[in-house]
């Protein structure tokens, strides 16, 4: 019998202690030890009960801002003057990309230095750049394959092809969630699904309760955000009475089945659900935010999403992943100038505001804020192809060989730039950080040894970093 299967039947845990005592009493004891920050009895059976990580952690929660489609690093966080100089000329690097690309294509955007640290950032992220002194910009990210699907899988699940649990599922599996009245792993995405859909936040072979819960942030009604969260058939008082009756009947049933923790867990889950009805409504309702907050975040869907993200993190949700939009919005095969300009305009202020907001609420230091896409884009211009792009030559193709991401908070270095791509920005050249390495480092900050954080499935111990990854200590403060 596998350990993790046991995790869910407290009955067996109880039995292992060799004590013939009732579930309720023991749950009380566990609660008293303080080791299990359980809200009520029975929650140890709840797979999302909060758990301490095995090692000291620099971060408690994760906010992943996913710029899906692949933002161009040479237009955002990796300035390449050479590229501008060589614009229109061939560069001496050829790497396999998905489509054909041509000559060097200098960024249409201006870069400048920000903050004390002087990190250079593109004008399109000028507001985020005001936080430069808190960002750890990694300019030497690399992944494996120049297509969206496998790269999304790599970034989210640590494996390009096969079914593996997502990063967020691993984290909620390992840490549970601080708020039992909300899902522990929440995906925010407006208007539909990103490419690869739910596979990006699937639990794989981990139990389904660790799967991410998708919230369509274009929706404004709570019942659209969380299924069955609203009761439309009774008043709250009536429902309370119903639950009291239910509880009474269940206690009778349980009288001769004291040893079975699953029965108790199910009773508690009704109470949890009852409370969740109230809390969830509140958590997603940004109309509760004061006017100056709305001003700070700005208008539009991204502002709305970031505000919701902050409200969730504040309420103890373990892992929030915010997608820019359905499909792959950052996939600018054509017209980088217009498209990247627009996309950054949509999210620059909201992200900057979110960082500000986390800081002023004291949440920033213990939150790992991750910004990036599934890969970067070529420094060379993409050549037109029938049916593949708009037939224009002013965009960039996919590029997994080198790209930028940044991490803020959670014990990462502040005001730092790590690694570098080659002269033209095609491939990571100095201090390469593979996605596996990033995962290993993030796990480290959350209190896990990525090589030991495993799960037995189909005859093998699996981990997020597969058989690779190393903790990049230089990224850490």
């Amino acid at each position: 019998m596998k350990f993790q299967e046991r995790l869910f039947t407290r009955r067996e845990l109880l039995q292992r202690t060799g004590m013939g005592m009732g579930a309720v009493a023991l749950a009380g004891l566990i609660g008293d030890t303080g080791l299990l920050r359980a809200n009520t009895s029975g929650s140890s059976v709840n797979p999302l009960a909060p758990k301490a990580p095995p090692f000291p952690a620099g971060a408690k929660r994760v906010l992943h801002l996913f710029m899906n489609g692949g933002p161009s690093h040479v237009d955002t966080f990796d300035p390449k003057p050479s590229l501008t100089r060589f614009s229109g000329k061939a560069i001496p690097i050829t790497l396999k990309t998905e489509r054909r690309t041509g000559s060097a294509f200098g960024s249409p955007f201006a870069f400048k230095k920000y903050g004390q640290c002087g990190t250079e950032v593109s004008e399109i992220f000028s507001k985020v750049a005001e936080h430069a002194d808190d960002l750890c910009v990694i300019r030497s990210m690399c992944s494996d394959i120049p297509n969206h699907e496998p790269s999304l899988m790599m970034m989210n699940c640590g494996e390009t092809r096969q079914v593996r649990p997502s990063f967020g599922s691993w984290i909620t599996y390992g840490l549970g969630s601080e708020n039992q009245n909300l899902p522990g792993f929440i995906i925010l995405c407006p208007d539909g699904l990103p490419t690869q859909g739910t596979q990006n936040w699937r639990s794989g072979f981990l139990p389904g309760s660790y799967q991410g819960t998708l919230i369509d942030t274009r929706q404004t009604k709570i019942e659209k955000l969380i299924e069955n969260i609203k009761n439309s058939y009774s008043t709250k008082q009536a429902q309370r009475r119903d639950l009291d009756l239910l509880s009474e009947l269940n206690r009778d049933y349980q009288a001769h089945r004291q040893e079975d923790a699953l029965l108790e867990a199910r009773i508690q889950s009704f109470e949890l659900a009852f409370r969740m009805q109230m809390e969830a409504d509140e958590a997603f309702d940004i109309s509760k935010e004061p006017e100056h907050m709305h001003k700070m975040y700005g208008e539009g869907l991204q502002a709305r999403q970031m505000m919701i993200a902050r409200r969730l993190l504040e309420r103890g949700v373990r892992f929030v992943q915010v997608w820019h939009g359905a499909g792959q919005p950052w996939d600018s095969h054509d017209d980088i100038k217009t498209n990247h300009g627009r996309l950054a305009r949509e999210c620059d202020q909201p992200i900057a505001a979110l960082l500000q907001d986390l800081k002023q609420r004291g949440l920033f230091e213990e939150t790992l804020v991750i910004w990036g896409g599934e890969f970067g884009r070529t420094p060379t211009v993409e050549l037109p192809d029938v049916g593949a792009n708009g037939g224009m030559s002013n965009g960039r193709d996919h590029n997994p060989y080198g790209f930028s991401m940044w991490v803020a908070g959670g014990g990462f270095k502040k005001g730092a730039v790590y690694g570098a791509t080659d002269e033209f920005g095609f491939a990571a050249a100095e201090n390469k950080v593979h996605v596996h390495d990033l995962h290993a480092t993030l796990l480290h900050q959350l209190g896990f040894d990525h090589e030991k954080f495993t799960y037995r499935y189909a005859g093998r111990d699996f981990r997020l970093t597969d058989v690779a990854g190393r903790v990049v200590k230089d990224l850490l403060a």
Binding site: M1, Q4, F8, L14, Q15, R16, T17, G18, L26, T33, L36, S44, N46, K51, A52, P53, P54, K96, R100, E149, V163, G174, L193, G197, R202, G204, P207, S209, Q211, E227, N228, N231, S232, S234, T235, Q237, A238, Q239, R241, D242, L245, L246, L249, N250, Y253, H256, Q258, E259, R266, S269, A273, M276, V386, G387, A388, K452, T454, A458, G459, R460
Partner: protein
């Protein structure tokens, strides 16, 4: 096992530690030491040394084996090679260091210093390596593992309590219990037992009356009669079929939005096969190779869904194959063959080449263009005609596209003649990967390059006369070209004179030769033939059948661009979508078959799992660990039928054990092997190995009859035990591995939902057919097994209740307890609807006495009589009465339905409100298209019209007052990824008073739909009606206008606004009465959800 006398506090601590450690599978210190070996040493040995020093080596060198602990410790002809703790004295290290002249390994080139250093570290630390029993054993040694031995027919052991044992099974169980001094639990009472048996065999509860009859029947055969009766019920197949569908990772859609047309025919085949007790060996054979069995009943072709209903990755074919390998290997054999994809299986005797021999089988199958009919349509006629035309139209568009693009691509290749000639020359000695780089760099096509190479090598006279000169030039070095040119030119006097004329002057380089060839050939590229033979030969070099730039249509896939690939995939998707619409709209059922490709090609090992790195060829054959000697190659097509025969052979030690264990697991809540899809070295050992064998042998002897197996298990005393606690036994065996009692189980989602429907009196017994939507309201009261399962977008209800997510094979379901489950039970429209139905069942409603009603409800919902205490608790609840329910939502003036605009009267002449709400849309049926309403639906943002003007969708607004209104909104029609087809939609706004106010056509475009100053009376309607114009493909639209009204009468003096989007909602809920709430609570109880 914890010490019984352990103090309380340490016990609590133990729990706490367990909880904290829970997320980790902390490795013990022993395995930590072994880690270095596994991660750093063994891979090097395998990669660099096994060739000569392993049991698999063609000839073992120096008598040294490095692939086992025994070998490493024993050393070779020169003695020990490892002295633990002393790297300098270890021969192995010396050899690696190239220290001695006559002992340098590996031969040729030393390993990098840092690798040698790892070996030194490892030996200095004691050279820990795993015991051969676990990992290092040779394949032959590892084949000795218990699960690879044929099951033996063990005699049931002797036991003391002979009176308890009712069957041989019991003697196996009891012997183990007695060994530990444990006693089995007393038999369950008859009401508990009948409930257990019903759920186990049918997934449904018995009625109170059935329980009464069974409880009263004291005859000796009563129990076996009960079991037999249920085994004969069609409900049995629905229950056990679903359990098999978990194994088969069954889904009704390949992925989100990619509905399979006929997946249900596989599901129905499984259910039917189980109901008919098809022998399990045949059951498996059909699913692997129904199409290869001579004289097979065509109905069985549906069984091939096992292979065809998996995931598919259009651009990464190896993943599609991997999915098939895994579902067969784990599903049927309980082996994790997929682990051997990138390297030999770390534990089980499964070498990589075995994975790729399976790859040879499952990569050589495909879905045929036309799927075989299982029965003819019930409504042959209109639909067949309509959909037939549409499907044909898509195929034609695809064919036209290919034809057109082929001309373009061939013409383009003609502009690259010189480049190809040079490339053939440059790539002559390159490896495959280098050639790929070359063509990428020079923007050529690999296939066209191959055609050029073949063509230039063609020995036909006409070809040689044209290209003889080139071939001679291509054979010389660039540096020697000038020197050799005169000789070459002179030797070609018999060549094509037109070619020779082109080379009167001496070309400066080989490149120039190629360029002149290109110019010459293009000059004679004519659509009309020349009468002059020499000219015609030049013409044929570009236009002839085998001409390199005259790629035939059948090879289009090999030359198409990325964009062409996207476009052709779009055609295929479009075809599949249309075919699925047809299937759900009454199209006759077809089997989702696979077929062998005409010329199966053996696969190659992908070295380290990389398809671009081909290794040795691996013809199709069975797993070597399950074969006596070297497995023989399969010869019948792709080899599926041979594979099936090998899997169901009585010599195969796994197949029977694996299924017997699965059946046991579903009866007892845990398997004899608790890793039901991993019988390998890393799986759990059987708790009762002899019993497992015994069952497997009996099962095969019985003709692989599952029903006989159920009977055998269920008639045992072990199965009929009570689930009550026994603290003494629990102390010794907390996981109940020895089966001292029956395990209590919680209903899975299928049983739970079906039971609620049974209690409400709604459950339908209809077998099979196209799926229904589980989320629809009003509920479709069919069994959950028939609900629509969309891979990648599983309904929240199923996901929350631990459903088997069909991304891949699911060995067993988890049982988690999360608040989403409770939210569903508390708040869903499904539960409210069923509570209302339950409370209004005739037997309940007919009773006017509240006490009698409570009694009735107990008998229906929980299948038993209420106790006096329960009656009084119930009556107290009822008497307290209800607080008033929430006020009904303000009645909104919106309605949603089908209608038709009549241009002669300028009015919407019919309006029929949609009946079904899915949570997102109002529509005509739970799954679309529906034969009456087509695919018409309306949601908050927009919708989709049906196939004809009668199926236009109407968002109707009825004015609550007299006034003047204005309308604002934007109508959008997107070109989705399936570009360029359909003709968009037409929208109209029609007033019941004034007729059509405006209309718009959009096709991949948007239109502002703003109107002002419309006078309106109370009760007038404004209809927002959309139809699909002439072509009904791709008609999804977005249109959610806002209406503003300046009221003219006194009651509505201010401006009022209605937003189609914000106001959109499903059916208005009605507050539950106190009786309904009471019924609702009974359905939520633990008693309802658990089976003792």
């Amino acid at each position: 096992m914890p010490d019984r006398n352990r103090s309380l506090s340490s016990a609590v601590l133990a729990v706490a530690v367990l909880l904290i450690a829970a997320p980790l599978r902390a490795q013990d210190s022993g395995s930590d030491r072994l880690k270095l070996f596994e991660e750093k040493i063994r891979p090097v040995l395998a990669a660099r040394c096994y060739v000569c020093h392993s049991t698999k080596a063609a000839k073992v060198q120096g008598g040294l084996l490095l692939d086992s602990q025994t070998g490493l410790k024993r050393g070779g002809n020169s003695g020990e090679v490892i002295v633990p703790g002393e790297p300098d004295k270890s021969l192995l290290v010396r050899a690696l260091r190239y220290q001695d002249k006559d002992l340098q390994m590996p031969p040729g080139k030393p390993l990098p210093v840092e690798v040698v250093a790892v070996f030194e570290t490892w030996i200095r630390a004691g050279a820990a390596m795993p015991d051969d029993a676990i990992a290092v054993k040779s394949v032959d040694q590892r084949k000795q593992f218990w699960s690879f031995q044929r099951p033996k027919d063990h005699a049931p052991p002797e036991v003391t309590r002979k009176d308890w044992a009712r069957s041989d099974i019991d003697r196996f169980i009891l012997a183990k219990l007695e060994e530990k001094g444990l006693t089995p639990s007393p038999p369950a009472d008859s009401r508990t037992l009948i409930r257990r048996v019903y759920y186990d065999l049918t997934g449904l509860p018995p009625t109170a009356e059935e329980s009464d009859v069974f409880a009263a029947d004291k005859s000796p055969g009563a129990y076996s009669k009960l079991v037999d009766g249920l085994l004969a019920s069609p409900r049995y197949g629905e229950r056990w079929g679903r359990l098999w569908l978990d194994v088969a990772r069954y889904s009704d859609a390949r992925n989100v939005g990619e509905r399979f047309a006929y997946s249900y025919t596989y599901r129905d085949w499984v259910i039917r096969a189980l109901n008919e007790d098809m022998p399990y060996d045949q059951f498996l054979t059909q699913q692997l190779a129904a199409d290869r069995i001579r004289g097979n009943d065509p109905q069985n072709l549906a069984a091939l869904g096992y292979l065809s209903l998996g995931r598919e990755f259009p651009k990464t074919f190896p993943e599609t194959v991997d999915d098939r390998i895994d579902v067969v290997a784990r599903g049927m054999l309980g082996l994790t063959v997929a682990c051997a994809r990138c390297h030999d299986h770390k534990y089980d005797p499964i070498p990589t080449k075995d994975y790729y021999s399976f790859y040879s089988i499952f990569s050589n199958i495909r879905e045929p263009q036309d799927l075989p009919l299982l029965q003819t349509s019930n409504r042959k006629g209109e639909a067949d005609q309509i959909y037939g035309d549409r499907l044909a139209r898509i195929r034609k568009a695809d064919a036209d596209y290919r034809e057109h693009r082929l001309v373009v691509l061939n013409d383009f290749s003609k502009t690259q003649i010189a480049e190809y000639l040079i490339a053939v020359r440059d790539s002559a000695k390159m490896r495959a990967t280098e050639v790929e780089d070359l063509i990428k760099e020079r923007q050529l096509n690999l296939y066209v390059l191959g055609r050029w190479r073949d063509y230039l090598g063609d020995s036909r006279m006409s070809v040689q006369r044209v290209f003889g000169l080139w071939n001679a030039v291509a054979a010389v070095l660039d540096s020697e070209f000038a020197k050799k040119w005169p000789g070459i030119r002179a030797a070609q006097s018999a060549g094509n004179p037109l070619v020779l004329a082109e080379f009167k002057t001496e070309p400066a380089s080989i490149k120039e030769v190629a360029a002149r060839y290109a110019a010459l050939l293009v000059r004679y590229d004519s659509s009309l033939p020349f009468s002059d033979t020499q000219k015609e030969n030049l013409r044929m070099a570009l236009r002839g059948d085998g001409a390199p730039v005259n790629v035939p249509l059948s090879d289009f896939d090999l030359v198409m661009t990325e964009g062409d690939r996207n476009n052709t995939i779009n055609f295929k998707n479009r075809y599949d979508i249309m075919r699925a619409l047809y299937a759900y709209d009454g199209g006759a059922p077809r089997a989702m078959v696979v077929e062998d490709v005409p010329k199966p090609q053996p696969a190659h090992v992908f070295v380290r799992g990389n398809p671009n790195n081909p290794g040795i060829e691996t013809p199709a054959h069975f797993l070597s660990c399950l074969s006596a000697g070297e497995p023989e190659n399969f010869t019948d097509g792709s080899g599926r039928l041979d594979l099936a025969k090998a899997i169901v052979s009585k010599d195969n030690p796994l197949t029977a054990r694996v299924i017997v264990n699965r059946v046991w697991m579903h009866h007892f809540g845990a398997g004899i092997v608790r890793t039901p899809s991993d019988f390998g070295l890393r799986g759990d050992s059987p708790t009762h190995p002899d019993l497992l064998d015994y069952l497997a042998v009996r099962f095969m002897e019985s003709g692989w009859s599952l029903k006989k197996l159920h009977r055998m298990i269920m008639l045992s005393a072990a199965y009929q035990q009570s689930s009550a606690d026994n603290p003494e036994a629990r102390k010794q065996d907390p996981e109940n591995q020895l089966i001292w009692r029956m395990n209590r189980r919680r209903l899975d989602i299928e049983s739970l939902r079906d039971s609620v429907l049974a209690a409400s009196g709604q459950l339908e017994n209809k077998l099979g057919g196209v799926p229904f939507a589980l989320t629809a309201s009003p509920t479709v009261p069919r069994r959950t097994v028939y609900g629509y399962i969309e891979r990648g977008r599983i309904p929240g209800l199923l996901a929350a209740f631990d459903f088997a997510i069909p991304d891949q094979h699911v060995p067993l379901r988890y049982t988690t307890t999360v608040p989403q489950q409770a939210l569903f039970l508390l708040n869903s429209s499904f539960m409210a609807e069923q509570a209302v139905r339950l409370a209004s069942r005739a037997e309940v409603a007919a009773e006017s006495d509240p006490l009698k009603r409570v009694e009735r409800l107990y008998r229906i919902a929980l299948g038993r009589d209420a106790t006096p205490r329960e009656i009084s608790v119930g009556l107290k609840f009822i008497n307290f009465g209800g607080e008033p329910g929430p006020a009904a939502n303000d009645l909104l003036p919106w309605q949603y339905g089908l209608g038709e605009y009549d241009s002669t009267t300028d009015r919407v002449k019919t309006f029929a409100p949609f009946r079904v709400f899915t949570g997102d849309f109002w529509q005509g049926a739970s799954m679309l298209p529906d034969s009456v309403t087509g695919k018409a639906k309306l949601g908050a943002d927009g919708g989709e019209p049906g196939d004809n003007p009668r199926q236009s969708v109407v968002r109707r607004w009825t004015s609550p007052a007299k006034g003047t209104v204005s309308i604002e909104g934007t109508l959008h029609h997107d070109q989705n990824s399936l570009r360029n087809f359909g003709d968009g939609v037409r929208a109209r706004i029609v007033s019941s008073r004034h007729g059509e106010l405006a209309s718009w056509n959009v096709n991949g475009s948007s239109a502002e739909t703003n109107l002002n100053g419309i006078d309106i009376e109370k009760g007038d309607t404004l209809d927002f009606i959309v139809d699909g114009r002439a072509d009904s493909e791709n008609d999804g639209f977005r249109w959610a206008p806002t209406i503003k009204m300046i009221g003219l009468n006194e009651n509505a003096p201010k401006a009022t606004a209605w937003s189609a989007k914000d106001d959109f909602r499903g059916p208005t809920p009605r507050p539950l009465t106190v009786w309904e709430r009471y019924a609702h609570v009974l359905l939520e109880t633990n008693e309802f959800a658990f089976v003792d």
